[in-house]
Symmetry: C2
Subunit: 261 residues, 2 copies
C-alpha cells in the first residue's frame, strides 16, 4: 500500500496550506489534513513535526508541512513541486517543472507575501493595530505601484501567443501554477470564500474591482473563472473542506481598502 499524503497545518483559515489542498483536490488524490482538528491540537501536531528529526528530516521553520512516508518537507512551493509531477500537474515538456515552479514562486511572492505585508509591514510579531499607520501607507502604495505591475505581468504571460493557444499559463497545458494564481484573485464579488487573485480580491475589493472593470487584465480574470469552473475545484469550493478568509494572509481592513491615487 502506498504511503498517504499528509498535510500538516493550522486550522481556521485557508492560509498557505490552501495551495496544497487545491493541487490534491484538482487531481482527486486522497490526503489527510489536520484542518478538522481543534486549533490547540493542530498547534501541538505542527510543533511536533517542525522539530523534524525522527525519520532523518531536518527541523523546519514554519508550516505548511507535508509528510509522505518517511519524507517530511516544508515550504509551499516546495510541496507543490514535489506533488506536481506525481499528480500530472507540472507540464508536459522536459524541464517544464522549472518553468511552473518559477511561475508559482512569482505568484506566491507578489500576490501572497506582498499582500500579507500590507497588514504587517513592520513585523509579524506585532498586532495590526500596532502598525495601522504604516499598514495604511503600504496599502496605498501597494495598490498604486505593485498591483498593476503584478496584474500586468500575468496578463502578459496569458496573452503571449508564441507558446501556443490556451487559457493557462503554459497555454494549452493546465498546471498547478494556474491554481496558485487563482488562489490570489477573486475578481467579481467579495462574498464567501476566496484565496492568490482570490485573496487579493478579499483584501482589496475596491482596487480589484477597478482593475477588473479597466479591461486591461481580462485574461487574468478569465483564468480565475476558468479555474473556478474546473469540476474538482468547483466541488471542493462548495464543500465544507473550504475554509473562509479571516485572520490569515489575506485580511479585510476597511481602512486599507483603497483605490490607486
Amino acid at each position: 500500500m502506498a504511503a498517504p499524503y499528509e498535510l500538516i497545518y493550522y486550522t481556521g483559515v485557508p492560509g498557505r496550506g490552501e495551495h496544497v489542498r487545491l493541487i490534491l483536490e484538482e487531481a482527486g488524490a486522497p490526503y489527510t489534513d489536520t484542518r478538522p482538528l481543534p486549533m490547540d491540537k493542530c498547534r501541538e501536531i505542527v510543533t511536533h513535526y517542525l522539530s523534524g528529526e525522527e525519520q532523518g528530516n531536518p527541523p523546519y521553520y514554519a508550516p505548511p508541512l507535508f509528510k509522505h512516508g518517511d519524507l517530511l518537507i516544508s515550504q509551499t512551493s516546495n510541496i507543490l513541486m514535489y506533488l506536481g509531477p506525481k499528480l500530472g500537474l507540472a507540464g508536459s515538456r522536459e524541464n517544464d517543472i522549472y518553468r511552473v515552479n518559477a511561475l508559482a514562486l512569482t505568484a506566491l511572492d507578489g500576490l501572497s507575501n506582498e499582500v500579507h505585508d500590507c497588514h504587517h509591514p513592520i513585523v509579524s510579531e506585532l498586532y495590526y493595530e500596532d502598525q495601522k499607520e504604516e499598514s495604511l501607507r503600504r496599502s496605498k502604495e501597494w495598490v498604486k505601484h505593485r498591483l498593476p505591475k503584478h496584474l500586468g505581468y500575468w496578463e502578459k504571460v496569458l496573452k503571449s501567443e508564441d507558446r501556443g493557444q490556451g487559457p493557462w499559463l503554459l497555454r494549452s497545458t493546465f498546471t498547478y501554477a494556474d491554481l496558485v494564481l487563482f488562489q490570489a484573485s477573486s475578481p467579481i464579488t467579495v462574498s464567501t470564500c476566496r484565496p492568490c487573485l482570490d485573496g487579493v480580491q478579499f483584501a482589496f475589493p475596491k482596487a480589484m474591482k477597478q482593475a477588473r472593470e479597466s479591461g486591461k487584465y481580462d485574461s487574468v480574470f478569465q483564468l480565475w473563472k476558468d479555474v473556478k469552473a474546473r469540476p474538482n475545484i468547483a466541488a471542493y469550493l462548495d464543500s465544507d473542506r473550504r475554509q473562509k478568509y479571516d485572520w490569515g494572509i489575506y485580511r479585510y481592513y476597511p481602512d486599507n481598502d483603497v483605490l490607486p491615487e
Copy 2:
C-alpha cells in the same frame, strides 16, 4: 558539446544572482555571467530575456535568469534546485533535494527578503529616503523579534544530532543550502564584501556582533567560517568576480544599525 550555463543578471551588486554564482563556483562549473558588462547593456539583456517566448519559455517577472540550452528559468531557489542535482550539491539520499530546497527557501525568506524589506518596508518603488521613518521602526523590531528567531532556528538545525554528525545543514553532506545560509551571515568584521548571514551582517553589524558574542549561535557562525574556507569559495571570494554590497538587497544605513531593545 554540452550547452553552457548562462547567468543573466544586473551588474554592480551581488544581489540574488550571487547565490547562483556560489553554487557554480563551489562546483567549479564553467558559466557565463553578464556581470562584467556595463549596466545599460545588462538591463537590455535582462529585459530581452524577461520577455521569454523565443524558445517556448514564458515571460518572467524579474532576474536572476538562467539559461541552459533552450531552457530559460527565473527565481533564485528554482535555479539552485535545477543546478543542485547536476552539480552534486543537493544531498545524497532520495528526496534530499526537497529537504535542501525547503532549507534554501527558508534562508532566502528570512535572511534575504526580510532584510531587504527593512530598508523598503512600504514599497520598493519608493526611495529609502521616502520611507526612512518606517524603515527605522521596522529595523528596530526586526533585530528584536526576527533576527533571534532566525538565528535560533538555524542553530537548532545545526545542533540536531539525530541526523548524524557534521558541520552542515544536512550534517555530514555539504549542500547548496549551506551556501545560501552563508550568503546571509558575515559574523566577524564588516570589511569588504559579504552577502544571507554575510548580508545580514553588512546591514546590521551591531546586532550581529552582539548575537555572535552571546555564544547562543556558535554553530551558525561556525558554518559561515567553514563555508568561507572551502577552497573554491575562498578563491572566488578573493577574485575580482566577487562584487561589493552597495545599493542591493543588503544596505548599510547607519540609522538602521540598531541593537535589540
